[in-house]
């Protein structure tokens, strides 16, 4: 059976098979959680407006997007601390600087 591909409101592609609910849980799952001192990219979710700029312009695809559009650290080992997300975030809600 071919997989159905759908786009949600934020343009995120969700692959759906017979069990869409399970897929949703997998996409929503945050693989990496860290505190301010240890995480390569720190996201301050209280100020984030989920515009998607940091995920779109990350040069090494270290960031990913959850189903609701908010960013999370998808590949923490790929971050090169270029601070592109720092400069392009309109809400001062993310930092990729070395700590």
């Amino acid at each position: 059976m071919p997989e159905k591909v759908e786009k949600n409101r934020d343009g995120l592609i969700i692959k759906q098979d017979d069990t869409p609910l399970k897929m949703q849980v997998e996409v929503n799952e945050v693989k990496y959680e860290g505190d301010y001192r240890t995480t390569p990219v720190f996201i301050f979710h209280d100020w984030c407006k989920k515009c998607g700029i940091c995920v779109a312009f990350c040069p090494t695809e270290a960031l990913g997007r959850k189903l609701d559009g908010s960013p999370y650290v998808k590949n923490p080992e790929k971050c090169i601390h270029c601070e592109t997300c720092d400069r392009l975030c309109p809400d001062f809600a993310i930092t990729g600087a070395k700590r």
Partner: protein, 281 residues
Amino acid sequence: MKKIPQKEIHKYLRHNKKFPHVWCPGCSDGIILGATIRAVAEIGWEKDDCAMVSGIGCSSRMPVYVDFNTAHTLHGRALAYATGIKMAKPRLNVIVVTGDGDASAIGGNHLIHACRRNINLTVICINNNIYGMTGGQYSPTTPHGAKASTMPFGNIDNDFDLCKLTIGAGATFVARTTAYHATEMQSIIKAGFEHNGFAFIEVMAACPVIYGRWNKKGDAPAMMKEMKDQYIPLSVFDKLAPDEKMEKSPRGILKAVLEPEYSERYAELVKSLQSREGEKV
């Protein structure tokens, strides 16, 4: 260009104001605020050395969030207030933040006469091609054919090129940059701050919620990618054929010359008149 991390920026923000700020998701105004603060931090100005003045509009909410000497003034009259501040206290570094409608429509006369006068101000004009705050009316910089709430079938006016306007009016520093090129924006704003004379910096901004929706431009990253393709460096732009130049626009420092500055000339005049005290004029 010096890397300024995010925590340095928080020293310049007013944390007693309500954050997150009022701008829509994906609005470029926050990026420009960040670049402005980074430029100030790179030069090393204290908070009390700066004065930020604005008119009315989305972009003019910017002075609310920074901890400088700030003034949020009448629609279009930011340059008039800023001229007064600079004349009264020439030691202040006066930054004027205006939108495209604020600077070119309501305050158009103030803009050209401030350019002619060559007073030491830095004007950051955030051009998002529409009046965002008041509901999406078309502005003097809305491109020909683009839609807005008061032009639902496409704009029939021609648009202003603000850089050509200010070069023609006699500004001594004119530059254009975009919200996508945030690193370049920081260095251009810094060069504008260090310039002794009237500096006009046009920053092209994305308005994904009002302008983007009317013209089906997509979300904020899509609008910023489009910006990246359209605005090319001045050296590359000069080599293009005339028919290719119609689609592209130049960015970078378009004009930088040194001319006598207004508040210094005024101080000289005052000094020379004080030395003639007692004479009959």
